[in-house]
C-alpha cells in the first residue's frame, strides 16, 4: 500500500494563494497577479476621463448636448456639429489626452528613478530645453514638423546636462534638481533671446510654446506623439517593474537581478522621448508631470510604480485644465499652461513645506 502510494506520480502542488490586496489570474501554467487597488483606481480614472471627455466635447462657445456631441464624434449630426466636433474639439481633446498621458508617465518614471517626487521633467529643465529648441525651429527653420524633432534634441541636451552636472540621480536628491533649475533658467533665457531677435510674426507664432497651449496644435506633432506613446508605453510598463525593485538600495536591486545602468538609461530615454514629443505638441505644461503621479500614488496606495495610472491621471488633469481654460472666461481663452501653473505652484510649495517622507516616495 505504502509503496504504491510512494510510486504514484506526485500530486501537483496547489498554487500559492495571492498575497493580500492582489487577485491571481491563472491560465494553465501561467498566472499574473493583479493589484486590486491599482485596478480599481485605473477603472475610476477611466470613468472620470470618459466623463470629462464628454463634457469637454459638448462645452464651448457653441454648446451641444453630450448626446449630440457623442453622435457627432461618430459621424452623425448636422454639418455644423460635425465640423465643430470632428475638426475642432476632438483633435484638441486628443491632443490634451495624449500630452497628459505623456507628461504623467514621464513624471512618474523620473520621480521614481531619482527617488524624489520633485524630480519631474518640468522642474529639472527638460521642458525648457525642448521649448528652446522648438522655438529655435520656428525662428530659424520654419516647418511644421521640425519642432517635434528639435524639441527631442533639446530635451535630450537638457537631460544630459542636468544629469552630467548634477552628478546623476540618486541620493544627491535636491542638488541635482537645483542644477536642473539652473539649466532651465539658462534655456529660458535663450528662448527669450530668440524671441527678442525675431520679427513680431515669428514671435507670435512661437508664443504658444512659451506658455503651453492646446489651441490649434499641429496635427503632425500630435500624430508623432501618438506613435511615440504607442512605442514607449509598453517599455514604460516593463520598466515600472524594474523601478519598483530599484526603490531598495542599489545593492539589493542588483541582487534581485536588475541591471541598474541599463534600466537607468532606458528610463531616461523613454522619459525624454515622450516629454519632448508632448512639449512639441502643447509647450511646457510641466506641472502636470508633478501632480499626476502623486494623484496616481494616492489612489493606488504606495506599492509599485503606477505608471499607467499616472498616465490616466495626467490625461484627466490636462483635459480638465483645458476645459476650464476654454470655458471659464470665454470668449477669452486661458492657455492650459497658465491653469496648471496657477494650480501646480501652490501644490509644489505644499510638497516642499510639509514634512518629507522617507526617500521622497
Amino acid at each position: 500500500m505504502d509503496i504504491s502510494a510512494a510510486l504514484s506520480p506526485p500530486l501537483r502542488r496547489p498554487p500559492l494563494p495571492a498575497p493580500p490586496g492582489y487577485w491571481r489570474l491563472a491560465a494553465g501554467h501561467y498566472s499574473v497577479l493583479l493589484h486590486r487597488r491599482g485596478l480599481f483606481s485605473a477603472l475610476l480614472l477611466s470613468v472620470l476621463l470618459l466623463l470629462c471627455s464628454g463634457i469637454s466635447l459638448s462645452a464651448g462657445s457653441t454648446s451641444l448636448s453630450v448626446q449630440q456631441a457623442l453622435l457627432a464624434a461618430v459621424g452623425i449630426g448636422s454639418k455644423m456639429h460635425l465640423f465643430l466636433i470632428q475638426e475642432l474639439r476632438l483633435p484638441r481633446l486628443l491632443a490634451a489626452a495624449l500630452t497628459g498621458i505623456a507628461f504623467g508617465v514621464g513624471g512618474c518614471l523620473l520621480q521614481t528613478l531619482a527617488r524624489n517626487r520633485l524630480a519631474t521633467p518640468g522642474v529639472i529643465g527638460i521642458d525648457d530645453g525642448a521649448t528652446a529648441f522648438a522655438v529655435a525651429s520656428i525662428v530659424a527653420v520654419p516647418t511644421s514638423l521640425a519642432p517635434s524633432y528639435l524639441a527631442l534634441t533639446g530635451a535630450a541636451t537638457a537631460t544630459a546636462l542636468a544629469f552630467g552636472l548634477g552628478g546623476g540621480a540618486g541620493a544627491r536628491g535636491y542638488r541635482f534638481i537645483v542644477v536642473g533649475l539652473g539649466i532651465g533658467a539658462l534655456f529660458g533665457a535663450v528662448t527669450n533671446l530668440m524671441l527678442a531677435r525675431t520679427d513680431i510674426d515669428s514671435a507670435n507664432q512661437a508664443y504658444p510654446w512659451t506658455v503651453g497651449s492646446l489651441n490649434a496644435r499641429p496635427e503632425e506633432a500630435v500624430l508623432m506623439l501618438a506613435v511615440g506613446l504607442l512605442l514607449c508605453l509598453p517599455v514604460a510598463k516593463y520598466l515600472a517593474g524594474r523601478l519598483a525593485l530599484m526603490r531598495f538600495s542599489d545593492a539589493v536591486a542588483c541582487g534581485l537581478g536588475v541591471r541598474l545602468a541599463m534600466t537607468r538609461i532606458l528610463v531616461l530615454t523613454v522619459t525624454v522621448v515622450i516629454t519632448a514629443l508632448a512639449v512639441a505638441v502643447a509647450g511646457p505644461v510641466g506641472l502636470v508631470a508633478l501632480m499626476a503621479p502623486e494623484l496616481a500614488r494616492y489612489l493606488c496606495g504606495q506599492q509599485g510604480v503606477p505608471v499607467l495610472n499616472a498616465g490616466l491621471a495626467g490625461a484627466l488633469i490636462m483635459i480638465l485644465a483645458d476645459l476650464v481654460g476654454r470655458t471659464v472666461l470665454a470668449p477669452i481663452e486661458i492657455p492650459v499652461g497658465v491653469i496648471t501653473a496657477v494650480v501646480g505652484g501652490p501644490y509644489l510649495l505644499w510638497i516642499l513645506l510639509r514634512r518629507p517622507h522617507r526617500s521622497g516616495q
Binding site: L118, V123, L165, G166, G167, Y174, R175, I177, V178, V179, L181, G182, I183, A185, L186, G188, A189, V190, N192, L193, A196, R197, V211, L329, I332, I334, P335, G337, V338, A341, V342, G344, G345, P346, L348, L349, L352, L353, R355, P356
Partner: protein
C-alpha cells in the same frame, strides 16, 4: 604684536586691494557704458564729447540717455548686490537670492497688479513695489522657519522657484484680460534698464542710500549671528530682531531696484559668491565688496544687453540669467555648500 591682529591687518590690506581693483573695474565699465550702444552715437564721437567737444546731439545721447542709464545701473547694482549679501547672511543660506526666492517676483507682481487696477503714477509704482517686496521677504522668513526647509538651502530655492512660477502664471492671466496695458506690464515682467523715466532717478538714490546707511548698523549683529544663534544671544544681540530688520532692509533695496529695473535675478547670487571667494565669508568684508561688485556686474550685463543683438536690445534679465545659471550650478555642485 598678537597674531590675530597681524592676520586681521593682512586681511584689511587684501580687502583694500580688492576694493581698489573693483573700483577700477567699475570705472572702466562706466566709461564703456557711456561709449557704447543705446543711441546712434559711435564710441569715437562719444569719447570726443567726454573730452570736451560741444557736439549737441552727441552730448544729449551720452549725458542724458547713457548717463542716466549708467547711474541707474549703478544704483540698482548696489541695491541688488547688498540685498543678496544681506539675505544670504540673515538666512545663513548661500543660495538665498532675492530673485530666486521670489522677492523680486513679489515686487514686480504687486506693480503689475497695481497697473491692471489702474495705477499709473511712478510714485505709486515705487511704494507698491516696496510693499510687494516686503510681503515676499515675509514669506521667505516664514518659510525659513518651517523645519526641514529652513535648514536646506536647496529646498528654499525650489520653494522660491515655485512661488515665482505661480506669480508669473497669474501675471500672464492678468495680461489676458488687459491687452491695453500689456506693453506697460511687459517691462515689469522681464527686467530691463532701457528707457526708464527720470522719476526713477529722483526717487531711487535717496531711498537706496538710506537703506544702505541703516544697513551699516546691522553689519556687526549679522557678523555675530554668523557664529550661531546662541553665541549671538550671548553677545547681547537678538537674532529674531536682527533677521527681521535685515529682511526689512532687503525688502526696501529689492523693492526700489525692482521699481527701477524690473525683476533681475541672479545678481544677488553672483555678487556675494564672488565677494566670498575673494575675502572669505565674513560679512564685514563681503558687504563692502559687494557694493562695488554689484554695480560693475550689472553695468557689464547692461552693456552686453545693448551689444548682443544689435539693433535690438535684450532685457538685462536674460543676460544675468545666462551668467548666473552657470554660477548657480557651480555653487550647488561644489562639494560642500559653503556654510554661512
Amino acid at each position: 604684536m598678537p597674531v590675530t591682529s597681524i592676520v586681521s591687518a593682512r586681511r584689511q590690506r587684501s580687502l583694500l586691494t580688492f576694493c581698489s581693483a573693483w573700483l577700477a573695474l567699475l570705472a572702466v565699465t562706466v566709461v564703456a557704458s557711456l561709449l557704447m550702444g543705446a543711441g546712434q552715437v559711435s564710441p569715437a564721437r562719444a569719447l570726443a564729447v567726454l573730452t570736451g567737444n560741444q557736439d549737441h546731439d552727441a552730448r544729449f545721447v551720452v549725458y542724458e540717455l547713457r548717463g542716466q542709464r549708467t547711474l541707474l545701473a549703478i544704483i540698482v547694482g548696489m541695491a541688488l548686490g547688498a540685498a543678496g549679501t544681506l539675505l544670504q547672511s540673515a538666512t545663513r543660506n548661500p543660495l538665498a537670492e532675492p530673485g530666486l526666492l521670489g522677492v523680486s517676483a513679489g515686487a514686480s507682481f504687486a506693480v503689475v497688479l497695481a497697473i491692471s487696477l489702474g495705477a499709473s503714477a511712478a510714485t505709486v509704482h515705487f511704494s507698491v513695489a516696496i510693499i510687494g517686496a516686503m510681503v515676499g521677504c515675509l514669506l521667505v522668513l516664514l518659510v525659513t522657519q518651517v523645519r526641514y526647509v529652513g535648514d536646506d538651502p536647496v529646498r528654499l530655492v525650489l520653494a522660491g522657484a515655485a512661488f515665482s512660477a505661480m506669480l508669473g502664471a497669474i501675471t500672464t492671466l492678468m495680461l489676458l484680460f488687459d491687452q491695453r496695458s500689456a506693453d506697460e506690464i511687459r517691462f515689469w515682467v522681464i527686467g530691463t534698464l532701457a528707457g526708464r523715466s527720470s522719476v526713477a532717478l529722483w526717487w531711487s538714490p535717496p531711498g537706496i542710500l538710506l537703506a544702505l546707511a541703516l544697513m551699516t548698523l546691522l553689519v556687526r549683529p549679522l557678523a555675530a549671528l554668523a557664529l550661531g544663534e546662541h553665541i549671538a544671544t550671548g553677545l547681547g544681540h537678538h537674532p529674531r530682531l536682527i533677521r527681521l530688520l535685515t529682511l526689512l532692509i532687503v525688502a526696501v533695496l529689492v523693492g526700489i531696484a525692482t521699481a527701477v529695473a524690473g525683476p533681475i535675478a541672479f545678481i544677488g547670487l553672483i555678487v556675494p559668491f564672488v565677494a566670498r571667494a575673494q575675502t572669505g565669508s565674513d560679512i564685514r568684508r563681503t558687504l563692502w565688496l559687494s557694493l562695488l561688485i554689484g554695480p560693475t556686474l550689472l553695468l557689464l550685463a547692461d552693456v552686453l544687453s545693448r551689444l548682443a543683438v544689435k539693433p535690438y536690445e535684450l532685457p538685462i534679465g536674460v543676460i544675468t540669467a545666462m551668467i548666473g545659471a552657470p554660477v548657480l550650478v557651480a555653487v550647488v555642485r561644489s562639494r560642500r555648500l559653503p556654510t554661512l
